[in-house]
Amino acid sequence: MITSPLSSSPLFFVGPVPIASQVVVTWCIIALFAVLAHLIGHVLRLRPGRLQSVAELFYVTLDQQIRDTMQTDPQPYRAFAATLFLFVLCANLSSLVPGVEAPTAHIETDAALALIVFFSIIVFGIRSRGLMGYLKSFADPTWMMVPLNLVEALTRTFSLMLRLFGNMMSGAFVIGIVVSLAGLFVPIPFMALDILVGIIQAYIFSMLTLVFIGAAVGEEDRGSLIKEAT
């Protein structure tokens, strides 16, 4: 009844490439975002409607969160952080649709997200400090810290992947076990807990990404921005 959460079965094949069900769910989420973004962005009015009000509220809240976390201008990081947050949130909550399994409950989706975060940290770091400056930041207090900092750069993205995977997969696992024990109304509190965990994990994923990017961007950049602001 309970299959291994580490393996996934292919739904259909595109040529030689097997496509699993979570990939299809991911495509659906991407299509949903494209349609929503077009709907909201196409008709921006001065007197906002309901949809635009929600979007603006989200935008302002996100900007405040980025400013609080990174102590810098949110402009370069807004699009990346918002996309990451909304995607992980939708992917986590997609398990509420009957018959759909959350894509983040499989390790491949989380590995892809963590890879994006890993390279974006490097790109943002090089963009703000320059290549030599970014490489120099690995030897931050002394040169003796270089191996530790290198290991840390790998393990923190690895733990980002495992955290999201473990939380979402364990939620689905617990619900599966409870359903197999007692059928009808008993799993409902666990599903409510799963919604809460999904929202918190999406928030934490994007927040930790911002913290890592903030650490890579460094203090000098921030200091100049704060000086400009005051």
Partner: protein, 84 residues
Amino acid sequence: MNGIIWVQLISIIGAVIAVAFGAIGPALAEGRAIAAAMDALARQPDAANTISRTLFVGLAMIETMAIYCLVIALLLLFANPFLH
């Protein structure tokens, strides 16, 4: 055949021990973290935003330790390198 059964038995026991004892440390740590956050909230209700954000991120960090134990237990049960 006999050896494989022993490996399976020890894997199950190892998974149980990993989850059971691996949950103790994070549980104590989360309790301490929440107690400290409550203390800080009671002293400074104005800083509720900062405190709760830091608390959530910190709890996620602590919880990762328990998640690692869970992943190791699942590796032992479903992807045991000594069985395949």
